[in-house]
Symmetry: C2
Subunit: 79 residues, 2 copies
């Protein structure tokens, strides 16, 4: 089973990477770009085949390692 | 209009970040985790309201700045 985890900085947390991208896009002449936020995606190949158990496992991984839940939120997608 | 860009290393390109995550998960006791790949997501707020033109614009951003197309592939999602 495959899992995709999206980790983004929470709203209100300063995102310097996103700001850098926004400035670079403006410098390259791209207009009409408002906010830019940058996050990460982690794709996992899991041996687990039960969707419910896989989600529980991935949620534990997020809480323990993949996301810093103080400043980041995460979303799990199973396929 | 909002756009989400996913940038991942192409298949076959070594992904040291993903490998580090895989090792860390194993060290934390998570079993049954095969491959791990890490990429980035960039969320853009665009002034453009036409989906077709927005896609063209975002594609140009990817080619010029957001992705290194030699080693990375990208996917665009508009919402």
């Amino acid at each position: 089973m495959k899992a995709k985890v999206h980790v983004m900085l929470k709203q209100g947390v300063l995102d310097p990477q996103g700001e850098a991208v926004r400035h670079a896009l403006a410098a390259l002449g791209f207009q009409g770009v408002g906010g830019v936020r940058q996050g990460k995606v982690i794709e996992l190949d899991l041996a687990e085949t039960d969707a419910k158990r896989a989600e529980t496992q991935v949620r534990a991984m997020c809480e323990k390692l993949l996301a810093n839940t103080v400043i980041e939120s995460y979303a799990i997608e199973l396929a």
